[in-house]
């Protein structure tokens, strides 16, 4: 059933009041009642966001956090009707509105991104690996990658340092966020750029470790093969132990 124009107008006025706190002339409402409405809604949003972004909540001053929440509540037209999905829109809002510059926290975008990643990976739809076996030749068989991951580049290492300290360590950081099969635990790894190259070659091109080592030495022949191989074996063992690599792809076994 369609609203009458009058109902629609009243509803618009009410939502305007709730979101902005500015007098909106809601017909038939008492100012005390209206205050409660705004308080209840605002608290809901604040609770949802502070639980989704506990580190940002800790790092920002009370005033800065309130500014973020208030501006988000007032200016952002949420696309989702689900409150638990709002944190993603909050992340986008913080980025799009340059709060990192406004607050002079260069790390802020990376921080909210990092915090969002945990939720994103935790709630991502199931993805299933190709058939794999547990034993194989670590250098000559194709590894099966756990498909439930996100690989992200960060400028500030907010995953390893206190946020404000991370400003002193600006650089290229690669964060692997993945969901462990069976436990559904979300885990994080900081990856060395060389290992990112390696990881992507395995994940995207289904190459064996030896093929990737050949590729790397082709790119830079001053790299000692024995040391590279040793380093890569250590990396692969860690990735297998951490369940980023699940085993050896059955489709590629001879």
């Amino acid at each position: 059933m369609l609203y009458t124009d009058k109902t629609y107008d009243s509803q618009k006025r009410l939502t305007n009041w709730v979101r902005t706190g500015k007098e909106s002339g809601v017909p038939g409402a008492t100012s005390n009642g209206l205050k409660q409405y705004r308080r209840l809604f605002r608290n809901n949003i604040n609770n949802s966001l502070s639980q989704a972004y506990p580190i940002s909540f800790e790092v920002l001053s009370d005033e800065e956090w309130s500014t973020l929440v208030d501006e988000f509540f007032e200016k952002h037209d949420a696309k989702t009707p689900h409150i638990w999905k709002l944190p993603f829109e909050f992340y986008q809002f913080v980025k799009a509105n340059n709060f990192s510059e406004k607050f002079n926290y260069p790390f802020l975008n990376d921080l909210v991104h990092f915090e969002w990643l945990e939720i994103e990976v935790y709630t991502m739809p199931n993805e299933y690996p190709q058939p794999y076996v547990k034993s194989g030749d670590i250098l000559n068989n194709v590894l099966e990658v756990n498909p439930e991951y996100r690989l992200t580049q960060l400028e500030y290492p907010v995953h390893m340092y206190a946020a404000k300290e991370s400003v002193n360590h600006k650089g290229d950081y690669f964060l692997l966020t993945y969901r462990e099969p069976k436990t559904f635990d979300v885990k994080f790894m900081n990856l060395d750029p060389l290992h990112v190259l390696f990881f992507e070659k395995v994940a995207n091109e289904n190459l064996t470790a030896n093929q990737i080592i050949d590729f790397i030495i082709d790119q830079n022949n001053s790299i000692p093969r024995d040391k590279l191989t040793k380093s890569i074996i250590g990396f692969l063992e860690t990735m297998i132990k951490e369940k980023v690599f699940l085993g050896y792809a059955e489709n590629y076994l001879n």
Partner: protein, 135 residues
């Protein structure tokens, strides 16, 4: 059967070149790859780091002009932190695991108690937790 190629690279040529050069110059250097643990562990650790750094700042302030607010906040933060770190993040505890839900609820209660102390942010009564309408 071939696996399909589905993800694009995030590495730029410069980063690759830099990584290869670094390795060629110092192949014995320990790579920066490091398992950081699960979300809860890492969050706790990072919040601890941030609390240490922010507490230090607050105590510095205390030595200066206005000590009242700084002391209050410094005292309140550890509790608030404890509650927040144990809290389930949004989207968690929705998978039919009753134990997890119970824990999350318990934690929310802890969080409520702790957050009351953090008056600037959450001085108002909680909403959406069965208290609607209550002052």
């Amino acid at each position: 059967m071939e696996k399909k190629i589905k993800k694009t690279t995030i590495l730029t040529g410069t980063v690759i070149a830099g990584a290869l050069l670094t390795f060629s110059v110092n192949a014995d250097a320990r790579p920066s790859t490091q398992a950081l643990g699960n979300g809860a562990e890492l969050r706790t650790e990072i919040i601890d780091l941030n609390v240490v750094s922010s507490s230090a700042k607050l105590y510095e302030l205390e030595c200066g002009e206005k000590s009242g607010t700084a002391t209050k906040k410094a005292e309140a933060k550890p509790d608030a932190k404890k509650a927040k770190t144990s809290e389930a993040k949004c989207g968690e505890g929705k998978c039919g695991e009753s134990g997890k839900k119970a824990d999350a609820k318990k934690d929310t209660k802890d969080a409520k108690a702790a957050k009351t102390e953090k008056k600037e942010k959450t001085s108002e009564a909680k909403c959406g937790e069965g208290k609607c309408g209550a002052e």
